[in-house]
Amino acid sequence: MNIRFKHHLFISLIILILSSQTTFAQETVNKRDLSSDNEKKIKNTLTNDAWADDVWGDDAWAEEQKSPWALRGFIEVGYGTFTQDNIIDATQSLSELTTRFEVDYQHDSFDIAAKADVRYDDVLNKTLWDTRELNIAFSPLNNLDVKLGRQVLTWGTGDYLFLNDLFAKDWQSFFSGRDDEYLKAASDSIRTTYYSHGITFDLAWTPEFTSDKYLTGERFSFYSPQALQQVSPASDFIVNKTNNPQWSARLATSNNGIEYAIYGYHGYWTTPVGSKITPTGQMAAYFPKLNSWGASVRMPLVSGIFNAEYAAYNSSEDYAGTNPFIANSQHRILLGYESEVVKDLTTSVQYYVEKTRQYHNLIQSSSTPNLLVDEYRQLLTLRLTYMTMQQKLIYSFFSFYSPSDHDGYIKPSITYRYSDQYRFSLGANLFFGQEKYSFFGQHQTNSNLWLRAKLTF
């Protein structure tokens, strides 16, 4: 398929979806003067449509609860383009057609969930199968829930910031403007949750380490401190994987509307933040061991929600921080507050600090100390969500800004829910920074604009 043909394919799909509906609903809310004939108007409204039974359309309640089977899914097209020259081979940041199949089976004593995507990914020129869920959930005891199989796991209190949630993330999807759902990657795990006296104990065991879908240079480029330049190694990015397990635990309770939790993790860094020489003499990236513990609290505060979270990361292969090829240990602290400041406008702010624990040793041992992050890497985030037209039109703005790295990342988007079946969204991933090696600064050329159309069935 040549590029022009692919573009035609994409545009045809969009037209297909658009043309299958009539014109877009326009918000023409004419405030009428009701002062003279209030009652008459009310009566008119009633006689015009209120008593018509056919207002319910099919007039049938969805019977899905009666059948143990439920089938759902969607078809989505997405297209995105880089806003700057990028050293990546592809010119698009996103160009794909995704079909989701979802099958649930409910039995009295267990549930089976299967959810998978078939995606024609034009950026990679491949058709990919992605199983999001394939699990069985049951309660072997009154106060014990078990979910076994492929699943998405989440906990913690951060918004796009993760401290104690070390479950797999998909940064490629996040950067390319796919739905937020894809930020969480699935893992093959067993989650057991035990409830007793208002306390919840979660234990998640991932028998085979599941890493993040980190940047490899295939879709997005990144800065290499070894090469001292932006690189896009793609398949040349050699990463040694481990097959060992990950353990994640959480103990949670709440009292008077205040939620408390403590967390533990035993496993590996979820991105390849270590490098070592392989037996063949090559330098290869790998996932160093990581243990962590932490705590969080979330509570109502002056008509909003306040949250605080802490995590201690122990990079146990280099606890002294003297090996420049292994990520240092960290303290991570997050404070957040969310409130609906004006009707339908929700604002949330977060302040996040990542302290490198053996900073002195890191500086001393590094061959490129000038490229290192500050001892206290700080981040401020702002989220604004404005909903209008009966929540059918949603404006969303999210920004990361680091006063220590002098860089940032802005994610604006607009989503229009045309109907229960059709949804359209467009947005951007915009990176900026003073330095080309900093956390977000390195992604400046990865900045992109995207749009998506989704048909749910």
């Binding site: 009310i42 209120a50 359309g57 409910q106 699943q151 998405v152 989440t154 409830y195 037209m389 109907s419």
Partner: protein
Amino acid sequence: MKNLFWGLSILLLASPSLFAETLTDVNQIIQKSNLASYYAGDDGRTQARMIIVDSQGNKQMRQFTILRKDKADLGDQEMLVFFSRPSDVNGTVFRVTKKVNSDDDRWLYLPALDLVKRISAGDKRTSFVGAHFFYEDVSGRNPAEDNFTLISSDNGLYTIKAIPKDLTTVEFSWYKAEIDTKTFIPMKVTYFNEKDEAIRQMQVLDTQVIDGYTTVMHSKIIDLTNDSFTEMQFRGVQYNLGIEDNIFSERSLRTPPKQWLR
């Protein structure tokens, strides 16, 4: 003899409508109305569906099951709302702890991310999942927020005018509630702006007596400024099921309690 007396008392208490006398204390009417509308039984379960119709006639549908448990009549309540339709919200669960003396606690479970999101109590007069019903219409407006005046009591209806104590928290200036004198169900509530123009109206289209409680089975809210509206219907209503307290917890978000959802 004593038993007969108790029997009669219970009969009288249980069916006040038989011997209904016209009340004149507006606060008593409001209290009874609040009780009848939101506190029937000690707990309850219902299936509900809404059709949301915009001013162009475009329709959206929501279907969900509600579980409710009262901590005390006219007091705090626990509520869970399990969404099943449309398919993109299937599995979404909304949890509220309604508190009479402070802000409600609210959570939303998003199954695709396995995320339990806490929502700020904020503005209760915000659309409930895109419908013309506000959160406050679903869980009940706190009577302490308004001053009431009884305007008339005829044709089987108490007509009451309510003026909010704090006008900055609402989008209307006052409202008129027409409450059935027998059942104490508000059959029609009309909201007016500062020019005394009707801007919004709630109507009860159908009620049924279930387990002795008069229950709204079909209601509608119209935005009179653009004629858009939402209709809500209920079915499978049951009261006094004995739903345990621990059902109203984070566990039910991830693992919906099947025995109560059938």
